[in-house]
């Protein structure tokens, strides 16, 4: 008998008097001890499906159909019955561990809350159970960690605490909503391993929601592929991966950035260099703001990029990749030489820099955050022209239309606002904004990380095409090694501000020298926890 069984589930949201159908007739079941994965791109309704099982959606959601947990009907059940099931029989793990934990409560308080509520344990007994749980999820020295606050833990540890909270009441079903998406690759592998181990030991069932197919393959017994609120294909994991029947599943499976970058001509001029670039943020204390130490964001980064060449910078979060990019753009202070087109820029004044900004542009990670929501697409793309001037004899709107066509957008949409575009289209707008000035150097700060796989592939193609056409120099920052491999000529690996290893693409990927690079490669390409990488 299945633990959770969903039949013909339909969820619609009311807004502005209109009703939008997010889930259209979904049916699936999770058996005892089984892991079922819901796979799909953003907006496919997978999270909504999961949340609606115990009615965690907002008041403007309308749920129809049937969800039974061990034979008990959940749709239309009263709050009291639902509360008994939530957190007790069915537990949740969410994507972002930082925002899922209350920043003002210690670990002990967060964990005891649910234990007291559902199990009635108090005082010493509750505390002992908390310690046991934390040890179970692999937090070392749990006793001394009890009085820590969430911000004192690393991302991986926070996710472990979230898992401990979910396990606190011995749930029968664990619903994990993208539990590893916000984590670095090496930690992602460890957390997945932990989940698999717990499931095996405790005999839980799991509903696993993700967009990452490589996780699914390792992890799930059965897979449901969702698209636009419907399950287009479901079956055993092996079957789906070996012989996908639905065309959408086939696209998903083949969506991987492949190929090699075009070779750089030998006589290509150097566009940008940095020499021992150092970015230290002073820590100031006391009334007189004495500098007592430094946060060493980047130590001695040396790189050089030629026209038509891509330098990939990889590393986990906090390794100083983005800081390095911002310093090269002279958006934050740094020490050491930065030269663009042979001209030293680290000492230039703001006014002198303005003219040079035409040649160096940056594209940011989050296509939702990097476009001003109150400006039309034309205004956004043309903003640089307002500073650097329109080419002689050209009209602003014509130039915007031309660049929009080039990045694969319909110029007729230039009077719309960013919120009317999808994530991929928004990233194209951000690329168009950078490209309209015809720069020589473009810094790409995780341009594909916030996008779905199929869209990532398209953006990588677009970037590659633009590079070939205009001989652009790219500095490509990413934690996604597959994308870096598809785009970069040179690769630089960073860890905690230090350049661990740098060299040509093939050398780094095929024959990594440092332990850290080896661990990164293993995590990215095999999804296996590397021993000693440490959380």
């Amino acid at each position: 008998m299945s633990v959770l069984s969903v039949e013909n589930l339909r969820v619609s949201f009311q807004q502005d008097g209109k009703s939008a159908l997010a889930v259209r007739g979904v049916s699936f079941a999770v058996g005892k001890g089984e892991t079922v994965a819901l796979v799909g791109e953003s907006g496919s309704g997978k999270s909504v499906t999961a949340l609606s099982t115990v009615n965690l959606l907002g008041r403007n959601a309308h749920i129809e159909g049937s969800v039974t947990y061990n034979g008990q009907q959940m749709v239309g059940a009263d709050e009291k019955a639902l509360r008994k099931v939530r957190g007790n029989d069915i537990s949740f793990i969410f994507q972002e561990p930082m925002t899922s934990l209350n920043p003002l409560h210690t670990l002990e308080k967060q964990l005891t809350e649910s234990i007291e509520l559902h199990q009635g344990l108090r005082g010493v007994a509750a505390r002992a159970r908390v310690v046991e749980l934390l040890e179970r999820v692999g937090i070392h020295d749990a006793e001394s960690r009890l009085s820590s606050y969430p911000h004192q833990l690393s991302g991986g540890q926070r996710q472990r605490v979230m898992i401990a909270m979910a396990l606190a009441n011995g749930p029968e079903l664990l619903i994990a909503d993208e539990p590893t998406t916000a984590l670095d690759v090496t930690i992602q592998a460890q957390v997945l391993e932990l989940l698999a181990e717990l499931k095996r030991d405790l005999g839980m069932s799991m509903l696993f929601i993700t967009h990452d197919l490589s996780i699914v393959r390792k992890f799930a017994d059965r897979v449901c592929v969702m698209k636009d609120g419907e399950i287009v294909e479901h079956g055993l994991t092996a079957d789906i991966f070996d012989a996908p029947r639905h065309p959408y599943t086939q696209t998903l499976l083949s969506a991987e950035s492949v190929g090699v970058p075009d070779p750089v001509p030998a006589d290509a001029p150097v566009v940008a260099t940095t020499d021992n670039l150092k970015i230290w943020f002073p820590i100031e204390r006391g009334l007189l703001r004495r500098t007592v130490g430094h946060v060493k964001a980047v130590n001695a980064a040396t790189l050089s990029v030629r026209a038509g060449e891509t330098v990939g910078i990889v590393g986990e979060s906090g390794s100083g990749k983005t800081t390095l990019a911002l310093a090269m753009m002279r958006l934050i202070k740094s020490e050491g030489r930065i030269a663009i087109l042979g001209r030293e820029i680290s000492k230039l004044q703001k006014r002198q820099l303005r003219a040079l900004r035409r040649d160096m542009q940056i594209v940011f990670q989050d296509p939702y955050g990097s476009l001003s929501p109150r400006m039309s697409v034309e205004q956004i793309i043309a903003e640089g022209l307002g500073v650097h001037g329109v080419e002689a004899g050209r009209n602003k709107r014509d130039m915007v239309a031309e660049i929009m066509t080039e990045v694969g957008l319909d110029p007729a949409t230039m009077d719309r606002y960013p919120h009317e575009f999808s994530g991929g289209q928004r990233q194209r707008i951000a690329i168009a904004r950078a490209m309209i000035l015809r720069p020589k150097l473009v810094i790409l700060d995780e341009p594909t990380s916030a996008l779905d796989m199929t869209v990532q592939v398209q953006i990588v193609e677009l970037l590659r095409g633009l590079q070939a056409k205009y001989g652009l120099a790219y500095i490509f920052i990413s934690h996604d090694l597959k994308v870096v491999r598809a785009l970069s000529h040179q690769v630089m690996v960073m860890k905690r501000g230090d350049v661990v290893e740098a060299g040509p693409r093939d050398q780094i990927f095929d024959d990594p020298q440092s332990e850290y690079t080896k661990a990164l490669m293993a995590a990215a390409f095999d999804l296996e926890a590397a021993a000693g990488a440490g959380v």
Partner: protein, 366 residues
């Protein structure tokens, strides 16, 4: 209108309470702007010997209508009324009331007689018109004075209408100027941060600790009371209200990626502040607006109530409240004031509640 604003307008209209409050308030305010046309001690239109006169707009000496004085005609006097209606018959100086009733009955005859007329406003009193009453002032509501009269024999309804208008105009002047200064100051502090911000915060703390009431008393003692001076002083001490809020929004927004992107394009600081960051701060500002507006109206009334506000002749709701307190046996004063303030403030709060919700992107109206 951009799609975003269209959506906001739609949300606002869906909020029925806010929308109807806006309609009622607009009607009341627009009517009060034309208060001279329906609460005035001068006629709107006069026909005297075939010529038309508009006393509401123009100054006419009494001699214009056959009177003796070169000062402005007092249209409420029986003599002046008689002169206008009769076309300047000299006998009006002796027996105006009799002549007027004869004209009405059609029995009057005189060689100089040429019938004229006057169109009076609905409420034939202005806020400062002294009236002759049968009993002592304040007098209770009756057919002549619908809401009674106050201590100075002036019509309460007329004073309320003018007082409402003055309160709103005063508030608009104070809030618009004070908010503009506050937003710019907060924006500069939040955007540049660092030493500028720290220094300015200290200045604001000192400024906020200044006893504004004393300053108002001292300034009035030196320069004399006037509405202009009061507006200036209230702005002087009122502008920091928004600084903290806008500063916080700017401190947050300067790390947004689209601000970084604009910096990378080489856009100037001022453009970034006003094109990219200010729209974000506007929502927080709008949230505060109802409190600032009601606070300003209440502040004006308080100053008037204490006797440190508008000049004594001005139609002031606060001054009328003081009269109500002094004359507890005349409840029409207290009730009029209570309902005026209650209705005015509630309407404003409802409207801005609706505006704030309409700007909230997460708020939906099913």
């Amino acid at each position: 209108m951009s799609p975003l604003n269209k959506r906001r307008w739609r949300n606002f209209r869906n909020n029925r309470r806010a929308f109807y409050s806006l309609v009622i308030f607009t009607v009341l305010f627009v009517l009060s702007l034309f208060a001279e046309f329906f609460a005035n001690d001068k006629p709107i239109l006069v026909n005297y010997r075939g010529d038309y006169y508009t006393p509401v707009f123009n100054f006419y000496p009494e001699t214009q209508f056959g009177g003796d004085f070169k000062t402005e005609a007092i249209y409420r006097d029986d003599e002046v009324k008689c002169l206008i209606i009769s076309g300047g018959v000299i006998d009006c100086f002796d027996a105006p009331v009799e002549i007027m009733s004869e004209i009405e009955n059609g029995t009057f005859s005189d060689p100089d007689f040429e019938k004229g007329w006057m169109i009076w406003p609905v409420i034939p009193y202005s806020y400062d018109t002294p009236n002759t009453l049968d009993g002592p002032a304040p007098s209770a509501p009756d057919a002549n004075h619908w809401l009674g009269t106050d201590e100075g024999t002036r019509d309460v309804l007329a004073r309320t209408i003018y007082g409402f208008r003055l309160s709103i105009l005063f508030t608009i002047a104070v809030v618009s100027v004070a908010s503009a200064i506050g937003i710019i100051a907060g924006a500069v502090q939040g955007f540049f941060g660092g030493w500028l911000d720290l220094t300015f915060q200290r200045v604001l703390e000192i400024w906020g600790a200044a006893p504004s009431l004393y300053v108002i008393i001292i300034m009035f003692a030196i320069f004399g009371r006037s509405i202009g001076m009061l507006i200036f002083l209230v702005i002087l001490f009122g502008w920091p209200a928004l600084v903290g809020l806008v500063r916080a929004e700017f401190l947050r927004a300067r790390n947004f990626e689209y601000v970084r992107a604009a910096q990378a394009l080489g856009v100037s600081n001022w453009t970034i502040m006003f094109r990219h960051m200010l729209p974000n701060a506007m929502i927080a500002t709008l949230t505060m607006m109802p409190f600032i507006i009601t606070g300003t109206i209440g502040g004006l009334a308080t100053l008037d109530f204490l006797g440190y506000g508008l000049p004594a002749s001005a139609p002031s709701l606060g001054e009328m409240t003081l009269q109500a307190k002094r004359n507890l046996f005349a409840p029409w004063l207290a009730f009029t004031n209570f309902f005026t303030f209650a209705i005015m403030l509630s309407l404003l709060v409802f409207i801005f509640e609706g505006v704030r919700d309409a700007f909230d992107p997460r708020k939906t109206f099913a």
